[in-house]
Symmetry: C2
Subunit: 498 residues, 2 copies
């Protein structure tokens, strides 16, 4: 597997270069190869297959056939958890290496039917339970924007590959923030849908079957360079009627039509009550708020701390119902050591008692019910809200602290996405945190990321906001994210109908 | 509670009779009172509230206001599990009596907003885990069509009330067949939707919070006298956007439009491989098949026994993950004895181990995935299929045997409904079961219902078919059930566009 990478990277692609998709792919594979050499973002590399498929797709068009679908010839990268027939989904575990997949993940089939060309899979953290993408099989993925900070995880390979423009559209998965955190760290757009919207079936997660049904299910979703591409992903996958292929997907056709939709009302949520954000993160919210107000968007302040603050511990408990036993079985079957960061944080625990898990689900249902009320205030409906992706800028390697701002919306099953706003500049180094007792251990660690570090490490890293919409209303999320992106870029009302 | 019944039944309603909804309600309450006196189908009775509301609704219209919604003034009956503010939801348990609900179930609010008038709640079995509606608080509900046979359960009060025309539209719940079995026993139409379609939140089930999330969730759904009323229920509830009120409901607007839909392809499933149906049940399928073929409907034989036969034991296991502990706690807190039928069948068990529950969910996911394939054959898509509701006609009291034909579609989360075809006649007493070794203990007991009984007990009882559609495609189910009902009634193509 690893040896093969080298030969592919050094070898010359053999596809004919006189057809447009093949050319595009040659370029795309070359960029991905360069990205990999610089950031170590790839796991499985199948450029030869990709070039062959691109040529076939060109021949298909040349024979006068219509395109296979909206992704005809579009190269798409995939997180290593997705299964592509004939290639490993080792997720960086020795125990799962050299066991090529027998069948494709459902989403892989959807993308192929829509004409996509698959050319590589991307790196993840060992156990998928870390926020830096490092494992013993593929090593560590580097952030191409600033090598001192993390590339994020668990879809960190996707983030780095996209930042290097080695991919135009990548697919990750998210259970605590694993699409949104690399999107933030690498400055891309990304969306974690509600879990029943996009097919997740047939992936490798290192768990035994049924886990998602007793704990919390993860979502699959896209990372891209702009909102148009994210929307293309949703419309294309939905058009494949994935509910006929994955039993967990609900039969919701994609109904995005911004020109038909009413004026947006967007909330601003500043704090989760668990970890106080650093000054530049709060200032960024003000900046975005002011830009939204200059556009045709109504902005309302929301204080949902009393509910938001209950999410993190409940999400953590539900992530851990199984105690990590299946993962530790895999590691121990090959005597594989935990990677350094995980070794001080992760250990095998007894799986929870069923009664306890039932109570957690009861609490979750109650909290989800309470959260329904946040979508309305005395003046009307709130379409979406903005909040931090994390309470800090992109942190140094292995220092990402707390996922309360992202995991909470997995607990709520709300679609949530990341919009990059700008880079961290010198002026962003200003400002001190309020002098008060930390809210808890996570808050304490977070303060240290501001007070005990040379803040210049953050220079040049992306500053992003998170946008959140009600459950299964990804159309609303895309509309809100697009409007926010337009406002931030000063495109204002001009592009509202594009 | 019980004393109040008597006074209401004997007392004279006080509503003005010079307005149309109030009159309708007077009639409806009178019919319900008669139904109750004959079949013991009611639990909570709130005729006075109903007549007051009907008068208010009349006054609302008389003042020139538009109707509140499509149910303006329509009386609707509810299974006792639904909470109506100010009234008990004791579900026939002593421990829950005299504890009036503080708030309405979500569906109750939806119906009220659409203009409905609520006037009574209906009887259920003790523990909700029996198929005859008998409990120590309200006693036994009688089948008005034939007092020797069961009225069914657990929504048995609804079935009997509807059969007596004491209700035009009732709402039940179904986790193993609890809407479809009383619909079959009492000869009404009824639909169990996929669980995320109609709000279920805020009901009393005698369980602790979170149970539905670790086991299998139940569905709420309607019973009525015709398909038009069932469709009205779905369109009206969906128009209330219940996903803003119940976190488990998916935002799927109701899109029923039979005139726009293509020609139907309907499958016939004869056996589940667990219990062989009695001869008249199989003959009924032939009868319906032939009527469909005379209409504009394509019929295909389906043999799905290899999958269908795996459902019953898995569904049973998932129903029992909690071991009935919460229910036994309630019973024992009042030293309440189990009702006779349950006393030989139900006992407190240790709740399952989490690992075991995870495995069951893993198996369920695998089976659901395999079932996806049944919706297509070599000639194309199958829109819905017909199968027995039960492997026997409506059986004598306390003799309903096995729910494999209904519980399987809760396990699969497929919407499934009941269409009454005709009554059991003398000619239906003909025919012997194939002379072979029983498939198991359920099959053995079922054979006895045919061989060891005077079959004349079945005379006059309803013969129905079950119709099943893919997950969350209730529109397809309504279309198929309507077409089958038309074909059976000889309305054929004539009404296809109505």
């Amino acid at each position: 597997m690893c040896g093969r990478h080298q030969s592919l990277l050094q070898g010359k692609p053999t596809a004919r270069s006189d057809t447009k998709h093949a050319i595009k792919h040659l370029t795309c594979c070359q960029r991905a190869a360069i990205a990999h050499q610089l950031t170590n973002c790839l796991t499985e590399i199948f450029f030869e297959d990709a070039l062959k498929r691109a040529s076939e797709l060109d021949a298909h068009l040349a024979s006068g056939n219509p395109p296979l679908g909206p992704l005809h010839g579009v190269p798409i990268s995939l997180k290593d958890t997705f299964k592509v027939r004939g290639y490993d989904s080792s997720i960086g575990l020795a125990a799962l290496c050299f066991k090529p997949a027998q069948e494709n993940s459902v989403l892989v089939d959807c993308l192929l039917r829509a004409g996509a060309v698959l050319y590589c899979k991307t790196n993840i953290p060992q156990t998928l339970m870390a926020l830096d993408s490092h494992n013993n099989v593929f090593g560590r993925t580097i952030n191409p924007l600033n090598t001192a900070v993390t590339a994020g995880g668990s879809s960190g390979g996707e983030g780095a590959l996209l930042a290097m423009r080695g991919s135009v559209l990548g697919v990750g998965t998210d259970i605590g923030g694993s699409i949104r955190i690399p999107a933030m760290c690498d400055g891309t757009f990304g969306i974690k849908p509600s879990w029943e919207r996009i097919p997740y079936a047939g992936q490798e997660g290192g768990a035994l079957p049924g886990l998602s049904k007793i704990g919390i299910p993860a979502s699959a979703g896209p990372l891209a360079h702009n909102m148009r591409d994210l929307e293309l992903f949703f419309s294309t996958v939905s058009a494949q009627e994935p509910w006929n292929m994955d039993v967990d997907v609900v039969p919701l056709p994609w109904k995005y039509s911004p020109s038909l939709q009413k004026k947006l009302r967007i909330g601003i949520v500043r704090r989760d009550g668990v970890i106080d954000p650093h000054p530049p993160i709060l200032r960024l919210l003000d900046e975005v708020k002011s830009k939204l107000q200059n556009s045709d968007i109504q902005v309302v302040e929301m204080d949902i701390t009393s509910l938001f603050s209950q999410c993190q511990s409940l999400a953590n408990a539900l992530f851990g119902v199984e105690g990590g036993n299946a993962m530790f079985d895999l590691l121990e079957s090959f005597n594989e050591p935990l990677s350094p960061w995980l070794s001080t944080r992760l250990k095998r625990r007894k799986h929870m008692d069923l009664k306890q898990v039932q109570q957690l689900h009861g609490k979750r249902d109650e909290l989800r019910k309470d959260f329904l009320k946040i979508w309305k205030d005395e003046h009307g409906e709130i379409d979406a809200f903005i909040c931090p992706v994390a309470p800090h800028p992109v942190p140094p390697i292995d220092r990402f602290n707390g996922v309360s701002y992202t995991s909470s919306f997995v607990l709520m099953d709300y679609p949530a996405g990341v919009v990059p706003v700008r880079r961290f500049e010198k002026r962003d180094m200003q400002g001190e945190m309020e002098d008060k007792k930390p809210l808890g251990s996570w808050d304490k660690a977070n303060r240290e990321l501001w007070t005990k570090f040379d803040r210049s490490v953050y220079l040049g890293t992306p500053l992003c906001v998170q946008v959140v919409a009600p459950k299964l209303q990804e159309e609303k999320l895309v509309q809100a994210m697009s409007a926010i992106d337009d406002a931030v870029k000063g495109r204002g009302k001009m592009n509202a109908k594009l």
